[in-house]
Structure formats: C-alpha cells, structure tokens
C-alpha cells in the first residue's frame, strides 16, 4: 500500500504491532487523494474523536448535569419571543406556530452554532496542533459531532414536548435522517472552508455572524414556505431562486413537514429541490475538502 503526503506515517501510530515500522517518511508538496485508507485513519483515531467531543460538550454544558437544559433554554426563549411577536402581535395566521418553530429552530441552531464554532475551532485548538501530530480533520469533525449530539438531545426533548402538545408521533419522522445527512454534508464543507479562512482573516467571525443572521430570515423558519409560494409580490423566478439558491431551504421545509405534517410535502417537485440541495452540498463538501487538504498541515504556521 502506498501512502503519500503528510498522512503517510499515521499507519504506525496506533498499531503496536506496526511499531517495527513501515516507512513513515513524509514529504510535503506531494499530491494525495482522499482514500479509504484515510477514513480508516479516522477510525483508528476514534479515541481522540471521542475525547474531543466529550471535551466540547463538557465545556459547553459547564460540567453540570443541568448544563444541557440551560443551553436548551435559549431556543425555548426564542420560540416564546417569536410566538408572541409574530403570532400575537403581528397576527401571523399559522396553526401550531410554536411547534412549527421548534421543529426547525433546533436544526437551524445546529447549523449556525456549528458553523460559527468552526470558525474558531482550529484557532482555539492551536496549542494542540502545535504539540500533537494527529490527523487535522479531527478538529472540524468533532465540532460537527458535538453539535450533532446537542441536536439529538434537543430532538429528544422535542419529542417529549410533542407528547404533551396535541401533535402525533408519526412514521414520517424517519425522513429527518435524510435531511440531517444533507445538512451535515453541507455543514462539513462549510466548516472546513471557514476554519481555513479564519487562519488568514480574523474578521471572518463577524462577517459570518452577520451572514448567519441574514440567512436565518432567508430560510423559511419564522414563516412557512406556503407564504412565500403564495406571495404575489415575488415573481416565479424569484421563488425558484429562493428554493434553489439556498440548500438549507428544502432541508428546513423537509424537517417541518416530516415532523408535523406526516410527510405531506407542501410544495410541488419537493424532491427535485431536495436533490439540488444535496448536489450543492456535495459540491461545497468537495470544495471544502480540497481547500482543507491544501492547508491542513500548515495550520499552526498560519496563526
């Protein structure tokens, strides 16, 4: 088996039997491609992934059992505030508005929190990068995983709340897995891009924060997609752009329908839009991977 590039010597790290050494020489400026070998490397480094995710969550929940519920308070408050503002003050006519908000706010928080975490993840872990030669991809991966666990905990709470609300638990919940997969593909690509950009440009954090705020309102979260499709001010072209240009739109529509409407998709050709979203996400993931590979071993030098 031929290892090339900086990852070549990982082969012997974890395997004591290989300690008697397979040439672990490394050379920069040599091309190497994403291979199964490398995914195997991530598996070999699962203990590091586990410990880093555990650390992220411990820090986030401040080492306390109630920590998760404190962090759940934030989206809960957001739902309360938005329900009061949009439903009762502005008179938005949407049934079950709070439940609708909840179903998309949690995945959205997953998205925005992970991407903004990603912009600092590598920079914050620079002391680790300067000390240990672990595969660098672990860092964005762990940002993704720890936020995913946070989402899953949130979803569990959501289901418990559903039991209290007049909402049925439906088999269409299973579709959530598809939307989650597309979303995570998109996020992983963004995470790698953002993490490298952050090494070069400190400002990226602030720009990202502003962009995410704008993005929040460009995605059907506070309102639902029927309102956009029924709008008379928007042209057909604008509606198409709205659906095609933002990979998060079909995903969020999907979450909401799968969790609340039993998988009755509210727009025509729904799966076509989901397909486009998945394709765009795959392109972003690929772009992220290419940029990441180019820079991953220079990260500690860049700060």
């Amino acid at each position: 088996m031929r290892y090339t590039g900086a990852c070549r010597n990982w082969s012997f790290w974890c395997d004591e039997r290989l300690r008697l050494w397979v040439d672990p020489a490394r050379q920069a400026d040599e091309e190497y491609v994403l291979t199964v070998t490398e995914l195997g490397n991530i598996w070999r480094w699962r203990e590091a992934v586990y410990r880093l995710v555990a650390r992220n969550l411990k820090v986030r929940y401040k080492n306390s059992a109630l920590g998760f519920f404190w962090s759940f308070l934030n989206p809960l408050m957001q739902v309360v505030v938005m329900t009061i503002a949009f439903r009762y003050i502005m008179g938005l006519q949407i049934e079950n508005y709070s439940a609708q908000l909840f179903t998309v706010l949690l995945p959205w928080q997953f998205f925005s929190q992970a991407v903004s975490d990603g912009s600092v993840a590598v920079a914050e872990n620079n002391p680790l990068l300067r000390k240990f030669p672990f595969p660098r991809i672990i860092l964005p991966l762990c940002t993704l995983f720890s936020n995913l666990i946070h989402l899953l905990l949130g979803m569990t709470v959501l289901v418990v709340i559903f039991l209290a609300l007049p909402v049925a638990i439906l088999p269409s919940f299973a579709w959530v897995i598809v939307f989650m997969a597309i979303q995570m593909m998109f996020m992983m690509g963004l995470l790698m891009l953002v993490a490298v950009l952050r090494m070069y440009y400190d400002d990226i954090r602030f720009i990202l924060e502003a962009l995410l705020r704008l993005w929040f309102y460009l995605t059907p979260l506070a309102y639902n997609i029927q309102m956009v499709m029924d709008s008379e001010r928007l042209t057909a072209l604008q509606k198409q752009l709205y659906l095609l240009g933002n990979p998060m739109t079909p995903v969020m529509i999907g979450y909401r329908s799968a969790l609340l409407e039993g998988g009755v998709w509210p727009i025509e050709n729904f799966w076509f839009y989901v397909g486009v979203s998945a394709a765009v996400s795959a392109v972003v993931l690929l772009a992220g991977a290419i940029v990441w590979r180019r820079y991953e071993w220079q990260l500690p030098e860049l700060l």
Binding site: D29, A48, R55, V59, F132, P133
Partner: protein, 260 residues
Amino acid sequence: MTDTDWLIRVEDLHKRFHVRREKAPSIKRMIVRLLRPYPHEILWALRGVNLTISPGHIVGLIGSNGSGKSTLLRVIGGVYVPTTGRVSVAGHVGVLFELESGFHGELSGMDNILLSGALMGYGRKAIQEALPRVLEISGLADFVNVPVKAYSSGMKFRLGFGIAMAFDPPIVLVDEVLAAADEGFQRSAYRRLEQCRDNGAAVVIVSHEMEAVRKHCDRVVWLADGQIRSEGPTEQVLDEYLRWVNHSPQKPGARSSGHS
C-alpha cells in the same frame, strides 16, 4: 526496542515559512491583495539538514536564537511538514515542548490526561494502562480531579511531563522546557530521560544551558542558520561552539531572509 539502528532519520530537510508582515490581515487587506499581491517574506528556517540519531543516545541541539532548533524538533515531532526532504521516525514520539499549553482549564486533570493521550495516538486500553504512571511521574494524584485552571504553572508542567513520559516513547523531544522546572523536579526529569536512554530510546534536547548539555548529553549537534555547523561528541562540539560565541560579535536576528 526496534530492529533498526536508527530512530530518527532526517534527510536533506528544508523548511520554509511564509512570514506575513502584518499579523491577521483583514478582509479589506484581502481585497487589496487580490488586486496586487503584497510581498511576504520567505524564511528558510532549515536548509538542508541531514541527521541520524541512533537508539540509546541523548543528543543536545544547540545554536543561537533563530538557528532552526525548535523548527527541527517540531518537524521531527510531526507537527510541521517538511517543505522538501524526508523525516522518518521509528516509533511513537513523546514531545516535551510547550508543556504547560494544550490543556483545557475547565476540565479536570484526569480529563486532560485522557484527551492528550488520545491525541498522541494511543487507544483507550493503552491510556488506561499508562494512567497510574502519569500520576506517579507527575506526583499529582491528589489533584487529578481538580480543574486545570486551578493548577499552578509548575503543576501544569508536571502534568505535561507525566503524560509525555508515561507511555515509554522510544523517541523523546525536549524543547527548552526543563529550565522552567524547580531544581528537584529538574533533577528527577533528567534522571528519567537518562533512564529512557538506557532503555534504548533516542532523546533530543534543545537547550541554551551549556552546563546541562555538558552533563547529560552524549552527542551534540550545533545548528547555525538552518544548517548543521558541527556534530560530534559533547565536549568537542561545545568547545567549538563556545569559542565561536566568544569570538564573534553578537548579530541579533541572524536569520537569513529574502523577498519573494
């Protein structure tokens, strides 16, 4: 420990850094740069280093500031990638640089040990087995459940040292850090390094303390300007080095640099 007659082999190693004139440029700067790339300095930290280190040696790495000692150590440690050339290491590397960093203050000492061990590439079982040794070497058994932010810098140092040494790495890289420890711990640290050597490990120490180098190292490598100026038995190279220091005027920033 291994079948090879060397543990570290460095072949024609070059390492180049791009030094940006401004730290952390902004987006505005990026746009300007897209139009007209601003010149950055290229720094060759290492320029053609060849080095072989065999088992059972403590090697001192000496040279003035900016001669490339730390860079060389980090390339061997695998956190920097060579620009050209090859670096081979025949086993796990225990790193003793930036000992006090890399810990998360909010987490307990135990959690930090588990994390560091995993990032060094050890599996869960190996880490569990090494745990008692970490505590023994660092002498922190009573504080292991305390968050690291409450540790003194000496305690963090002990923790880092314990983690690096507990796994019996066949290669140990030490960057300057021992000077920061108190006399007693320093002595036991050197004793441990000598024990490692006697067990067949290769130990590389970067140090400015000539007395410590004279006392503990079997061989010395003198780096100057990113190249090896001299290499050999401790006394011989140290004499050469000290003669050079005494006779040449101090040139601060003796790094060579050029514009791209």
